[in-house]
């Protein structure tokens, strides 16, 4: 596993829909801002283990950890631009992806 440098959240794709999901306290959620943040390597390993268990149960695919920073309003935001794009949708089609949904426009 890569060296733990930043807090992390866990992401996957939903098996049935292909939708991008993030692990929150109880289960997967489509909104990365609700994702559970791992602040230590151990917490990250525990998150990943939960995700891989869901992969093994054939609920989700493409499970991996994402480096994040905590935004000014206290939410996790991916550091890398690839993962930022993945939380929102295509950058030149703001009418598509999560960024287009009303629930993602406002506060959570």
């Amino acid at each position: 596993m890569a060296k733990f440098k930043h807090p992390q959240i866990l992401t996957c794709s939903d098996l049935i829909t292909g939708d991008v999901m993030f692990m929150q306290e109880g289960d997967w959620n489509r909104d990365h801002r609700r994702a559970k943040v791992a602040h230590t390597e151990e917490e990250a390993a525990a998150l990943l283990a939960r995700g891989l268990a869901d992969f093994a149960k054939n609920r989700v695919i493409d499970v991996y950890l994402v480096d994040i920073a905590i935004s000014a309003d206290g939410h996790p935001e991916p550091i890398h631009y690839r993962e930022k794009i993945r939380t929102l949708g295509p950058t030149m089609r703001l009418d598509l992806g999560k960024q287009a949904e009303a629930t993602f426009a406002g506060d959570i």
Partner: protein
Amino acid sequence: MNIAVTPPVDKPGSNQRPAMYYYDHFDRDFVQERVAEFRNQVERRLSGALSEDEFRPHRLMNGLYLQLHAYMLRVAVPYGTVSSDQMRQLALIADKWDKGYGHFTTRQNIQFNWPQLKDVPDILQALADVEMHAIQTSGNCIRNVTADHFAGAAADELEDPRPTAELIRQWSTNHPEYTYLPRKFKLALTGSTADRAAVMLHDIGLRIVKNPEGDIGYTVIVGGGLGRTPMVGKLVKDFLPRADLLAYLAAILSVYNRYGRRDNKYKARIKILVHETGLEAFKAEVEAEYAAMDRSGTNADPAELARIAAYFASPVFETVDAGDLEVHKAAHPDFARFVDTNVAPHKANGYAIVTASIKPYGGVPGDVTSAQMRLLAAVADQYSCREMRISHEQNVIFPHVKQSDLFALWQMLKTDDLATANAGLITDIIACPGMDYCALATARSIPIAQEISKLFANEERQKLIGKLGIKISGCINACGHHHIAAIGILGLEKSGKESYQITLGGDPTFSASIGERLGPGLDAEEVPHVIDSLVNIYLQQRQGDELFIDTYRRVGQAPFKPALEREVEDGSDI
């Protein structure tokens, strides 16, 4: 694929149906079986009976990828030929199971960016209903055979390459020896004196030629390709008699299957084998294989090729003149510009080939809405024998249009932004999906294309610049063909930021060359200005009506270097 002989529904050349291949019962059964098989595989995946590791090869064999935001389904458009009925079905799929649009790719296919796994069997059924599928659009097999998008219509054509392409498609589809090649395998064909199919840059490129005795055959080029290690294909056979085609292809593929590097995916393409073996040794291997094999058991019966060719018989062209074309051009300068740029010479008097641009200024290259698909289908019904082609340049071609209909056709296209007069010009940018969709991307490509397109939207300036290809890829895999652009742009990552490398001097035609890197990578916002500077330098340097590539070959890269330096100095346009 073996095929049983069933005659086309209507008489070929009757204009009642598009001149393209139609499924016989064997094709229909095969595609139908594959739909049922995949439906079963999806059911088993959703029930948990199949793991992802077990299912993944099956979904890839049916063109279903997992991308950045969702699944993506790549639908094969054999050699780019699509009927109006098929286009309407693609529109239906876009509306019913996707988000109302599709994306034409640089391999003449169409991709849907948002299908849900549970719906894919229904989508495949909808495709099968109009004789389409997504088979072999992924995996280490022989992919969709591409061909000149002006095939069967071009004034400079010796022979329509599509019957040969269809023969190869049938022969290679589901072929047990070619289902697990060392790596994916791409063929392209042209039957013209001009290369619009980039045959020099494919695993195998075929050019239909005539020998001094007047016989038709093929020039065979092997080992071209883009990606991480771009290479121009090498001439392996100057003249291959037509009857020997499949045996010779089989010999090449046998040598590749035997010696291709399966240990390292970055060295697994046939271009590396040809390069590492050496051209002469590779040719000797192929010739030895060819001499030893049972050729008659592999080659197609000439009657079979003739049967396939009958499907592609030219429409019956009427004796027509250009009507009021010149009058309309004089009255409508924007129409005159469209005719200048988007209309190409046809083999029949009074006809023309029209390119509908899928590159509106500031738009997404290759993206079409379902409404635009229906409009394209309606135009084809009315003006182009119910047939279209998807070009590898991500545009749509109407192959057989009466010149006297051009004005009416243009008016129709204009109603939904499909008549941009920029075919082959600097804003006719090829761009792969890049990081806005693609899971493999290292940077975005579409927004770069959009900014450049907006910057050069002035049509007078475009006319002054003339034909100039810009191509953009979002990673080293080079789906955007940046290596063979006059000006290529490759999106990479540098220190956690997108960074863009510029290459100059690529050429996709028979005189193919791979572009050379200009200098260090640029930030995204710098790219349009640097392109502008490069174009200005070209305009200063060019002699007469020289193309960019000719100027570049004459003066070299040095005069273009200041485009980067000046950008660094003042951060603005020069």
